[in-house]
Symmetry: C2
Subunit: 413 residues, 2 copies
């Protein structure tokens, strides 16, 4: 971190979140410069602390072996956050929470809808303590939805249409291999929080932000014109290739796969030259865009017939030389090492604060480059639950050592 400031410097976030969706929202706020105080139950803390694999004294392990082994989920999601323990079922914990809210700009929670209010830490309680506070709730189906089943990522993927939209006609749906529903809701939560901050500059007061996992992912799905495409007789679910854009899609090589786009005339001719078959441009089946679309199946088989004889590297080089947009289908580990991604801190290394690991651990960075600001995480993280109790309760709240000791003795912190 240089000495340039971060964009959200000076803002304080009280973080009641657990698991992935909520903690990713506050992770983004921390990386943008806000101070994040993560509240955890004194008995065990965030459940993500139990996610395998772990890292610690013995490197990366499937099971926790030592007290200071840390789940990599926690290690990546708790970066730059201060940790305070609070047993929210105790009334005195609620007082501590509200004292924190009085000093804060933002609160974020992702309890099941209704739970925060029942615990006395919902928006109404927070607003009464601090009318300027911006309070964000992330939930499966919305803050006022009747409580239902748990909104896990795979449930939301299924309900949103995202799972159906992937895969080919007649084939099963596809489970998207990244937790897209868990990740999108927090991104929209941050947009909501920052928009409310902008409004607060005009009005002086805060408000409640309510983002649903189902709504966030469904709004993405909704950008495609599903009903219009169906009405126009255009196939919406087409698997690895898309006939109406043919040749377009994923093709097989001897050692992997490539994605290519040769929709327009010039690109199709470039593809045929790369294949060493420039004469295909004159083949009446492939001579113009309409004929290529009409004969997409045989065209795709012709391309695969060539690409299967090529390595990924050779096919990419030959297509690039002809100006055809092409990319190798990369393994995530390779993607995270892309020199552009590394240089821009879009994926970043992470390590246990006390132990080195032979495994190069990398995780999500802040994928925004500012010309007049820095992004990144303070060198702080609650390895133990409540690790920063004394620091926060003393410096931020001005509690006396006696009061802190009493809270500790009662199991409030």
């Amino acid at each position: 971190m240089t000495d340039r400031e971060r964009p959200l410097e000076g803002l304080r976030v009280i973080d009641l979140t657990r698991a992935l969706a909520g903690p990713y929202a506050t992770l983004l706020l921390a990386g943008l410069g806000a101070e994040v105080i993560k509240i955890e139950d004194p008995r065990g803390g965030d459940l993500a602390r139990e996610n395998s694999p772990y890292v610690g004294r013995d490197g990366v392990t499937v099971e926790r072996k030592h007290d200071d082994d840390v789940s990599i989920s926690h290690l990546t999601r708790a970066r730059g956050k201060l940790g305070v323990s609070l047993d929210l079922k105790q009334p005195e914990a609620r007082e501590v929470f509200l004292d924190l809210v009085r000093t804060a700009d933002i609160v974020v929670e992702n309890f099941t809808a209704g739970t925060a209010d029942r615990l006395g830490v919902g928006y109404e309680a927070a607003k009464a303590a601090n009318p300027r506070v911006i309070y964000c709730s992330l939930s499966g189906f919305g803050a006022t939805a009747p409580e239902g089943g748990k909104a896990m990522d795979i449930v939301i993927q299924a309900l949103s249409g995202a799972m159906y939209a992937s895969g080919g006609p007649g084939e099963p749906p596809v489970r998207i291999g990244i937790p897209i529903a868990d990740m999108l809701a927090p991104v929209f939560s941050v947009i909501g929080i920052l928009s409310a901050l902008e409004q607060r500059h005009r009005t002086g007061i805060g408000q409640h932000i309510d983002v649903s996992m189902l709504g966030a992912l469904t709004s993405f799905v909704a950008i495609e014109n599903w009903s219009a495409m169906a009405a126009a007789g255009m196939q919406a679910r087409t698997g690895l290739t898309v006939q109406r854009l043919s040749p377009f899609g994923v093709f097989e090589c001897a050692d992997g796969y490539i994605a290519l786009v040769a929709v327009h005339e010039k690109l199709a001719q470039g593809l045929f030259r790369a294949m060493g078959q420039p004469e295909l441009s004159n083949d009446p089946r492939f001579a113009n865009r309409d004929s290529r679309v009409a004969n997409a199946a045989v065209l795709e088989e012709t391309i695969n017939g060539w690409s299967r004889t090529q390595s990924v590297a050779a096919a990419v080089a030959e297509l690039e030389a002809q100006g055809v947009p092409v990319a190798p289908v990369r393994h995530p580990e390779d993607a995270l090492l892309d020199s552009r991604v590394v240089a821009r801190h879009e994926a970043v290394p992470v390590a246990h604060p006390n132990y080195t690991s032979e495994i190069d651990l990398r995780t999500a960075g802040i994928p925004i480059v500012f010309s007049g600001a820095e992004t990144g995480f303070d060198d702080v993280m609650p390895i133990a639950v409540g690790e920063h109790n004394d620091r926060v309760l003393t410096s931020t709240l001005g509690y006396s050592p006696e009061r802190i000791a009493a809270l500790r003795a009662k199991g409030v912190i």
Copy 2:
């Protein structure tokens, strides 16, 4: 729209974007209340205007039949935006652009990296005209990346690892059926813009925001612990189910598919009761979590043996009755009609301003509910390129009718 204000009321955005990624960023800003002035080339405008299908006088059609037929891509992405035409290759257009920038808070562009500067409408030019302006560039690989191939969604999906991560071992990668790379970069762009606005409240000056499609999607992929899972011998790419969480995944019914999660003891027992086979809880192969993981393949086949005899509706009802998280794998058209999504305006109806359509067209809303603000789109949209030239050049810039006529005569607008 009620008379409550929107969060970004009073901010003005000059929108140089085309296609999907950039226009989705300015669409979010418009739905949050900013005034967006979309600049298009007088000769044809945004290429998305040529995307099939269209809607107009004859309803939804694959080909454009009438002058006022509108691409549904344009209809959905241009909501709430004012349209001004500018031929940026002409020096006088650059003057008009800089006059607009002097009145604006935000500029957004998604030209190929380097193009905006070459046209004289890049950040340096904008900053010289208005040091307070926040200027956001969306590109494939970053604003300073050497120009390369076009960064289409499918190319970024391949490079990011997202495509590889989906699908099963030994199977081909999966093309995700929603344009996730095109959509994620704009969402992070909006976070960058709003963060820079917050910083501007402290410093009084703007800055350049630079977001890459590759970086945005790779940062999402990076949230999974790929190298640690590989080191721990855990399979990362597992298709419809996940062995280490078994039973977890997508299962086949007589008329479709369901997604279910029964990782924990209580849930597994609920699943077995729903299947009418409660005795499976005592089967040593399935009696505890470790044994279920070890025997995941046979367990999954046993579940499929039951679910294939059930309708989706029946299987969902039986599993819900037992408290097991479950969802139907829905078609996107059904997902967009979910009553919760409709009520929260996360997907919204859209129509040609002059014609009704028998097809119920729906598209992305703003998936954020504010307690103290409204979201939504002004009832304005540039059906024709340059539709709001007179309005903007007169009211916003105070140009005389003679000056506007001269610009029009020269083909500048």
